[in-house]
């Protein structure tokens, strides 16, 4: 199966395009929630939508089996009403009874989902024909999406993207400070819509995951709001598509597949993001650590003349042309001597600066200088030289090596 077939094949195209659009929308809205530190609101709202979706199904079931084609619409309306009620319950508990967001979210989640469980058992007992539909709601089923659903998904995506583009400034303000309530209400409305629509493809239980992971991935890569939206949309779209591919090949339920793919993206970008990634942070740390050890060895060689030392640090110094090996002994080269003298100069300058300018006793300055010698830049060295009037002796009466051009 080629890649293009996922977009052209009449059976495959609706699920794959639908999932992509849905996850893009969810990712973009997830960014807003992420920055407001309210990601778990999506969890509560999606669970609150469950009884609503069931109420919609039950209403249809009462009207008769010929109404089955309208199930999508009925589920949407019911789920939206209940998701809204869930959101209001959380806000009511928080504002009226001053319950912390954590407990308020948990409590309304349990209540609404409990109502959902109650209704499920009712549907199973009274309308057994519809109970399959009810179970689909829990875990999602993208494979049966049709072109008709695409119109709903497409228009929702269009609305959300237009909203984000048009209201970019107000959104920025909102994320700093909960001031502009009209925008906040609009965001909440779109969030409810996205979650309610997303239930069809990812299921009640995991629709929240569609919002969370792309936002996390985007935050790791972006430094400002605009790029973050773009990244979230890209990651959302990609994970929607790949999740759907997984579903068609391995027969996984759609919701879990999408969530696993997007979590993979999130972990990957948390690890390897150039600016905030953990991998690069560790690499930077390790390289600094290695440089410190190299410079310390150079310093020692400079003081002692020659040393017996095996291992990685010595090898690195040799590679850089600062030492030569003679039998088991390491010697400094001319370059190495200059380099080592520079480090010793920084060390002694800093010691002098601490005693003369900051009034620290001479016996206490060594440890600080041990660290600063690796950090001081040439500009700082120049300033220190100027402030200390080009000194020649450090506080321990040792000569300060002269500055090399």
């Amino acid at each position: 199966m080629t890649l293009a077939e996922y977009f052209t094949d009449p059976i495959l195209r609706a699920p794959s395009i639908g999932c992509m659009l849905m996850c893009m929308t969810a990712g973009v809205l997830g960014v807003v929630l992420f920055l407001q530190k309210k990601l778990l609101l999506s969890e509560t709202v999606s669970h609150a939508a469950y009884p609503g979706a069931l109420v919609g199904l039950i209403a249809l079931a009462l009207m008769g089996p010929e109404m089955e084609p309208y199930a999508f619409a009925a589920v949407l309306v019911g789920a939206f009403v209940f998701a809204w009620a869930g959101l209001k319950t959380v806000q009511f508990l928080e504002n009226r009874f001053r319950i912390h967001a954590d407990a308020a979210l948990g409590f309304s989640l349990a209540l609404f989902f409990g109502l959902g469980v109650l209704l499920t058992s009712w549907v199973q007992a009274v309308f057994p024909l519809w109970s399959n539909q009810a179970e689909t709601l829990l875990f999602g089923q993208a494979a049966t999406l049709t072109d008709g659903h695409l119109w709903v998904y497409g228009s929702l995506t269009a609305i959300v993207l237009t909203f984000v583009c048009l209201c970019f400034r107000p959104l920025q303000t909102l994320l700093f400070d909960r001031g502009s309530s009209a925008v906040e209400r609009a965001v909440q409305l779109l969030l409810l819509l996205a979650i309610v629509v997303g239930i069809r493809s990812a299921g009640i239980i995991l629709v929240a995951g569609m919002l969370i992971a792309p936002a996390v991935a985007a935050r790791a890569l972006a430094r400002s709001l605009g790029p973050m939206f773009v990244w979230a949309a890209v990651f959302g779209g990609l994970s929607g598509f790949l999740g759907n591919v997984l579903t068609t090949h391995v027969r996984l339920p759609t919701g879990p597949a999408i969530v696993l793919v997007s979590t993979g993206f999130a972990l990957l970008s948390l690890l390897v993001s150039p600016s905030r990634g953990v991998a690069f942070r560790f690499v930077r740390k390790y390289r600094f650590h290695l440089r410190c050890r190299e410079e310390n060895l150079l310093k020692e060689l400079w003081k002692k003349g020659r040393m017996v030392r095996k291992g990685w640090v010595g090898f690195r110094l040799k590679q850089q042309g600062w030492v030569v090996r003679d039998g088991q002994w390491l010697h400094l080269t001319e370059d190495g001597k200059t380099k080592a003298a520079g480090i010793v100069r920084l060390h002694r300058l800093w010691e002098l600066y601490l005693t003369e300018q900051l009034g620290v006793e001479a016996v206490r300055v060594h440890r600080s200088a041990e660290e600063m010698e690796h950090i001081l830049t040439p500009e700082l060295e120049e300033r220190l030289t100027k402030v200390l009037a080009n000194p020649e002796k450090d506080p321990h009466a040792q000569p300060i090596p002269p500055r090399r051009p």
Binding site: L40, L109, L118, S121, E135, L138, R251
Partner: protein, 305 residues
């Protein structure tokens, strides 16, 4: 023959009282009631600390991710003890990864909880559907099987109840200290980390054990709901620790009786777990209305006076 078949809501309590003093062996309704009550008390003792420590959504995440552990244990071992162990391992894993994401990756608490629980839960569902080919386990994990409880569930629930009550009775001071003010705990010479981990273990154990019998969401409802209701009227932790279990037991009694009477009158077997969480919600609603009315009257009186 189940003596409860066909009884209404109020008759249920009559039959229950009669049978309580007759000393006959337990029937399914009574096993269900006993398991739910034990779970309610066990959750009610831990719930206040969970809410105070703002661990409610963490408990939610924990009960979701348990599915992964249970499914893996089912694949590997297949016994009840193994399942519990698997659940405990997955709870530890959840906590560890959440902590790791917060510390190493510098994610905020909500993002790390959300990421971990959705990923692990998704993995759990994948294991369940692909390897076990048993979608029912997934549904049952979420919804619980509160309507098909057995004696073994009762043993488990009683064990949990015993453990929780002893632990909370002995260590409630330390738990309260850590829940309210970790810094104070540290200055008074308690290791905040040890007690935080203890509280976490207690929560995990409660979630896991209760989850086996009553499902994810009833655990959450029992942990948070009765406490929030009790808090409307009590100010002190001691009182709260008394009233939260009492409210929980009341909710269980009402829920089981309602479930039975609905079955008698309409013939529809409704999920007792669902009814229970609705009852807990109604309890809060009634208490909140009463509280609002009484404060309003007080305000009116002071204005007139």
């Amino acid at each position: 023959m189940n003596p409860y078949s066909g009884v209404g809501f109020f008759e249920f309590f009559g039959v229950l009282l009669q049978r309580l003093f007759s000393g006959s062996s337990l029937v399914s309704d009574e096993v269900q009631l006993a398991v739910l009550c034990c779970s309610a008390v066990a959750c009610g003792l831990v719930g206040p600390f969970v809410v105070l420590k703002k661990m409610a959504l963490f408990a939610n995440a924990l009960s979701h991710t348990t599915l992964l552990g249970v499914a893996c244990a089912f694949l590997l071992v297949g016994t009840t003890g193994g399942l519990l162990l698997g659940a405990l391992v997955s709870a530890l894993l959840t906590a560890a990864i959440t902590e790791l994401l917060g510390r190493v990756f510098r994610l905020s608490a909500d993002a790390s909880i959300g990421l971990v629980f959705s990923a692990l839960f998704a993995l759990g569902i994948v294991v369940v559907t692909v390897w076990l080919r048993n979608a029912h386990l997934g549904v049952e994990a979420v919804l619980g099987h509160a309507d098909a409880l057995q004696r073994s569930d009762l043993t488990l629930a009683v064990t949990l109840l015993g453990f929780n009550s002893v632990f909370v009775l002995v260590f409630h001071r330390q738990l309260a200290l850590v829940a309210f003010d970790e810094n104070l705990a540290r200055t008074l010479g308690f290791s905040a980390v040890v007690w935080r981990v203890a509280l976490f273990f207690l929560t995990a154990l409660t979630c896991i054990t209760a989850f086996r019998s009553v499902g994810v969401l009833v655990v959450l409802a029992l942990l948070i709901g009765p406490y929030l209701t009790a808090r409307l009227f009590c100010q002190r932790l001691g009182q709260l620790l008394l009233w939260t279990p009492v409210l929980g037991i009341t909710a269980c009694l009402i829920a089981v009786a309602a479930s039975r009477s609905l079955l008698s009158t309409t013939g529809v077997p409704l999920s007792t777990a669902g009814i229970l969480s609705v009852v807990i919600g109604l309890q809060f609603a009634v208490a909140a209305t009463l509280k609002t009315l009484s404060t309003r009257r007080k305000i009116c009186d002071t204005k007139i006076g």
